[in-house]
Every structure is written in structure tokens, then in C-alpha cells.
Symmetry: C4
Subunit: 236 residues, 4 copies
């Protein structure tokens, strides 16, 4: 009998018996997890709770689960009415250790937030490339240097995917945690495509689209005002 | 005399006389077919029927037709006002056997819904790669294992495209159905590009865009609330 | 003295003295040209003229100009309220012959509308690939076969771009017109990227995005209705 | 102790002590910088200042900083209600020299606005390709030829990224300024992805999306009007 789990079916038709069921996923989705969207935006107008959306991409494997969620930038509105990026967006990676068959210990999850440039590193990885990224979550505080996180993405020897691993060394707690999640080529293609989609959004560039007024409703017809930046590079 | 059918013109200028006309397509579009869009969303506000859109990508060939349609995820609204993905989206593949010149038997169509990861498998296929995917549509029911669907994508020997095939073995009905549709490089490029476009949508990540308030209308100015996920990964 | 024309600057810093100025472009933009957008949609609500947008991508060269514009599909609204694609979208190519330095004869322009699959052929062209496409604009009329259009895209021998050529043979008028536009790698990259962007739109798949209600405004909470297509492929 | 600056962390884990802090970035964001969005649109309805968004992608290095911002096209509304592109959009590059550790002299910044085709040159660069672009910002004025800007993008010998350099020679002021910013593979991937995203927007093609009415609200049902362009290429 062939069982293919709904949220986990692999493109290579190799299925593991120890991966998580949908129920575990639902629990995960409801109780923990990144919020994305306007909850993190200063000018959120409908209250923080009304805007949250839970839509992570989850890879459940035998020893750990890896979850990706986009986090939008926040903006501050200036007195002039202009918006300026306040906090940069990211793609949040979450690692959760397995504690039995199809069970994960959400209390022990660890996070690593990819900046725009680190997303660039991920989406430019060739099939034989690897990369390693380091974070100090206490940077700029008195605990700077006490916690060290390192994320590594290394290709499988046979080119069939990658190992995505996180190590968190905490000198304050004297702990060292490691997570490693094998990611298939198909799963990595989803990660790349989703991160490429998310990248302009976490940079705030999707404002290009959102800010364009509908053609029919525009005022139109008024004279163009000189735009300084264009005066300086007039030939464009 | 050269005849090029409107919906079916090939980029290689090889045209088949047995392919379907626009009329067949229209019939197909109106009578059968996947609905996508908010009809599948729990919080659809204008009634399920008012929101449906029929816009499949259809490949009509001599022995069968292959049709692709995106299916959006459904969301459940929590009491807090947050949305959580309830049912994952997919890209629905439909195979319909030909029963004569330019005629297809829509009653005998079979479906295969690609999950996000399976879409990842499709869009990461190189020109000489193949992949095979298995589904059990009765999984978790008492009929689990009785029906087996397998989808295979195999490259033509000369690199000019792929065979996309579906086999459905039904042990309950003692039936075995097979469909095979040759797909040109140009048609596969459409499939890849359309699936890459659809992927963030079926994952629910396009909410990133939809949820962003228009800059001019935002409240703005209020203090930022600490966002737990960022506190835990403060350096990003 | 180096002159770089604003709308025509090449990435290779080779500029031609016979290419068109911005003024010619403006004239072109105002007087001729494809409309895209809701003007071609049956359910256009604000009248056909209020919705038109002129935003072609233009390549002006010595002997002819090539212009690309997306054309959206049209939809028909069924009594149920559903929308079905009525006329497929396309990417319209327009060729206009030069009649002197920086002058083009817009009366003699010829058009070739790329279907989704033909767009797939264009965007999947490798640097050494070529393709040829044939259209009969009078197909299905009494003049079928009397006019033959062929579009060819052929790589330059040195890999620095393509020749994009259109030939229109009209047996009724006893005419034969040919246009050939050399396209640089940079210009072709724009064509590919813009066509990849346009593809889901001309297929009607961007409705995925447009139809999603804002999270905050959704009704939510009602029970999910069984969706037939998913019942048939329940495991997804 | 490992310090990773929030906005500047490199994917290769090589960090420089002389790069800019977030504070410098904020100052930069508030005081100078490109506005994108409807501020540059003639039919901006809410006043020019209310629509500005500051969301550049910044690469801070030891000798100079490079900043990218999309600039939308402007449209003019015709009496018919149609919109026509008035000024083409661009991706604005800004180079700012360093004047000490983590300090940049914003008064001495120089700009170079990439047209759609020049964006095409950037996004089609292979890992070993280079390109050079020339602008004359005084073109068509009495100072034509007096100022010459040249942008070059050259790969590192080891394939680990590019040097992006700008030289501005001003014969009027008898000055010559040069900027060179080493860009990692990860940073260049962000530039490519963001520029590919921006390209349809600076061309005005995103109007395709914005102009589509919501399905439920459309009028629908009225007869289709013949669309001239399609009559001429009827087979599409």
C-alpha cells in the first residue's frame, strides 16, 4: 500500500514513515509561527491582530522541520506623508526538532531571519554551491558575541538537493543546538521561487505596484513638476 | 494552404490536423473545468458562484488533452481576526481522452493536483530530467490504497519537449486508464512560467502584496509594537 | 562628442545615427499603437476609451521598428456570475518600416500577435536557438490561405542578439512585405522578462491575485463547502 | 567576537569593519534619495508629497556606497481618457563616496538612471560577462557633450561577484569623479531579481494588472466591440 501524505509528498516518490501529518501541521500553524503582513507595519490601520496571515512553507523531515515565512518591512510615515522603511523585511527560517514519529517540539524551535542579501545568496546557489551565514542576535547589546548562530546550506553529494543546517551556540546558557534538514531539489525549487517572489516585498519595492492609482480615477492633465533626481540625470 | 489553429499554434510550425478547434475549447471551458479563485475560500464574501473564473491553459493533442488550472488555498479566520491556511492550494492537471478528430470525452477526464513541492519538481526539471509522482486519492479513508495515480514527465529523446502521462489504477473498479500528452518545449515553458507565477499564490504568500495598505491611506505615526519573532532574531 | 539617445541607448555603447528620436516615439505613441487593458474586456465598466493605456516596448533600428504590447484576454460573465475567458490574450508585435532618418511609416506597419504558447517559444529560446511561427489572419474566412505571415527569430552568428523578422505575403493584393529588426542581447532580455511577466496575464491567471479579498474585510467563519474538483483529488 | 551589521551582513561571512551602520543608513534614507511611486506621475491625485516611498537597496562598502531605487514612468491622460507614457521609468543607481569609517558624503553622490534596455543588459549578465554604458546628462542642451558618465560592470577574476563602477567626467567643471563598489554574488542576485521585478513596472506594463476590474463588480454581459488591432490579426 502506498501512502502519500498530503502536505509532504515528495517529487521523487520516496516517502518517509516518520514525517509529520497534517494534524501536526495545523497545530503548528495555529499555536506558534511567524506572522507576516501588516501586523509588523507601523501604520497598520485595522489593529495588529486583524491582519495576520499564517502561510508558512513547511518541510517536515525525520529529525527536524524547516519552515519559511516572509516578514514584511515596516514603514514610518513622515510628516510630509512620505513613507520610509523603518525595519527591513526578511524571510524567516524556523527549525524545530523532532521528538518522535511525526512529533515536533515547538518550544525548542530556533529562528534565523534572512536579510535581502542573504536571500540573494540562497537564490543564486547553483546545484553544487554551498553557503554559510552567521548571525549574532544580541549584537549591539551587552550580550553581544555571547550567542552565535550559523546557517549552512550544503549540496548533497549526488546533486539531489541540499542539507540546510542551523547551529546555535549560546555561551550564556552553555548550550549548543544543531538542526539539519535534508531538502530535495523540488523543495529547494519552491524555496528559491518563493524567496524570489518575496524579495521585492521584503525590500519594499512592491510599493511600486501598490501605489499606482487606477487609470480611470486619476486626476491627470496637470503640469508635470520637475523631479530633482531626474533633473540630475536628465537623459534617462 | 496553411492553417494555423488559433489556440493551438505550435512554435515549431508543425501542426496536426486532429487537434481541437476553438469551439471544442469553448464547450470545454463552459461545461467542465476547474474553478479557481475565491470560490474555494471560506471567507468568500459575495457568494461562491459570483467569483469563479475559468482560465485554464489547455494543450490539445491527438490522443488526449492536458489542462492546467491554479487552485487557491482556502483560509480560516480565527477569532483574533487572523487568517490561517486551511486547505493548501495546488495546480490542477486534467487529462481528457480524445474520442475522434477534435473531440474529447470530458466525462472520462482524470485529475492530478500538484502540491507546492510537486510544482517545485516541475519547474526545476532540466531538459533531460524526468520525474514521477504518486497520489492515493483515497488516503486516510477505508479505501486507502485502492486507487493509485501516477504522473510521469519524461523528456523526448531529441530534447524537443516532454511526454506528460497519467496512469490511474483503480482496484475497486478493476480499471486502468492511461493518458499521454506530448508537450513541446514552448508549451512546457508556458507550464513552467505559469506554475512559477502560481506557486506563491497557492502557498498563500501573495498575501504579502494584498495585505499592504495603500501608502496614502495608512494611519501611520503610532509607535511600533515589539514583534516577538524579531525580538528573538534581533540582528536582522 | 558622444550622443546617447534617451529611448534607445544601447548597452554596448554602439549607437546609430539613423535611429528615432523621442519625438518620433511620442508621435508614435499618441497616434497609433496597441491599446491594452480593459478596453478589450467585455465587462469594462467605465467605457472603452477611459481605460486605455499606451505602454509599448519599442526597438527603433535603421530599417524598421519593433514594438511589443500586451493584450489582455476578454472575459464573458455567465448568468451564474462566473467569468470565462472569451478571447485569449496575446503579446502583440508590430513592425514598422523606416522611411528616412528617424522616420517610420506607421501606415505600413504589420502586426503579429503571439499566443501564450508562442510567448513560451520566445522565452525559452537559448542564445543559439531560433524559431519560426506562421499565422493566417484570414483563417476560417473565405480568404483563408490568401495571406501568410511568418515570424522568425534567429540568433546573430556571434551570439550578440537576434534578428527578429516578419514576412507578410498577400496573394490577394499580390504584395510581399519584409521587416527585419536586429535585437541586442539586452533588448531581448527585456523582451523575455516583459513577456514572462505578461504571460500569466494574457492567460487570465493573474485573476488569482486580483480576486483575493483583503484579509481584514473577509466574512470568514462560515463552513467550507465541498469543492467538487477537490473531492476527486482529495489527497491534495 | 563576531559582529554582523544588520543591513550589511554578507553571505560569505566576510565582514568589513569600515562599513556603514544602520544609523548612517537612516540618515541617508531621510535626507536624500530617490522617491519612487506616484510622485513622478502627472495624475498623482493626493499631492506629490503624500505618495513618496523610500525603499532603496543599499550596498555599503569601504570606498563608496551603491544604492538602487526604481523610478516609475509618468503618464499623461489624453482627452479620451486614455493614458500614455510620458516619461519612461528607470532604475536609479546612486554612488556615494566614503569619507571615513562608516561615513558617506551624500553631497557628492552621483546618479545613473538605467533605462529598460539597460536593465536588460544588467539582468542578462552571465558570471563572466561585463558591460559598459554611457550617458550624456546634458544631451540636447547647449552643454551636450560636456559631461560624460560611464558605468561599467566587470566580473571579479574569481567569479565571486562584480565591480560596479561609475566615472563622471565634467569638462565644464574640469572634474573627474570615480566610484567603484565591489558587489558580491549574493548582492548581485538581489540586484538582478529586484531589477527583473521592477522592469515591467518601469515599462508601464504592470498596468495590465492594475487595470483589471474585480470580477464580481464588472458590468459584464454587453456585446463585444470590435477591437481594431485584433481585426488586423484576427487569428490570434
Amino acid at each position: 500500500m502506498l501512502k502519500v501524505l498530503r502536505v509532504l509528498s515528495s517529487s521523487t516518490a520516496k516517502f518517509r514513515s516518520h514525517i509529520c501529518t497534517r494534524d501536526a501541521l495545523s497545530m503548528y500553524a495555529f499555536t506558534h509561527i511567524t506572522r507576516f503582513s501588516t501586523a509588523t507595519q507601523k501604520f497598520s490601520v485595522k489593529g495588529p491582530s486583524s491582519h495576520q496571515v499564517y502561510a508558512s512553507f513547511d518541510i517536515f523531515k525525520g529529525k527536524a522541520a524547516l519552515s519559511l515565512t516572509p516578514v514584511l518591512p515596516t514603514f514610518t510615515k513622515l510628516e510630509s506623508g512620505s513613507l520610509v522603511v523603518d525595519r527591513r523585511g526578511s524571510v524567516m527560517l524556523k527549525f524545530t526538532p523532532a521528538i518522535g514519529e511525526r512529533k515536533y517540539d515547538w518550544e525548542k524551535r530556533q529562528m534565523f531571519a534572512l536579510s535581502a542579501t542573504e536571500v540573494g545568496a540562497l537564490i543564486s546557489l547553483g546545484p553544487n554551491d554551498s553557503c554559510e551565514l552567521f548571525h549574532d542576535p544580541s549584537m549591539k547589546s551587552s550580550n553581544a558575541g555571547q550567542v552565535r548562530k550559523s546557517l549552512s546550506i550544503k549540496p548533497h553529494a549526488d546533486g539531489s538537493g541540499y542539507f540546510v543546517s542551523l547551529t546555535v551556540v549560546n555561551n550564556l546558557l552553555k548550550t549548543r543546538e544543531s538542526f539539519s534538514v535534508p531538502v530535495t531539489t523540488a523543495e529547494f525549487a519552491v524555496m528559491k521561487t518563493a524567496c524570489s517572489f518575496a524579495l521585492p516585498h521584503i525590500m519594499g519595492w512592491d510599493r511600486l505596484t501598490n501605489k499606482m492609482p487606477a487609470g480611470g480615477g486619476g486626476g491627470g492633465g496637470q503640469e508635470s513638476k520637475a523631479v530633482p533626481q531626474l533633473l540630475e540625470e536628465w537623459d534617462r
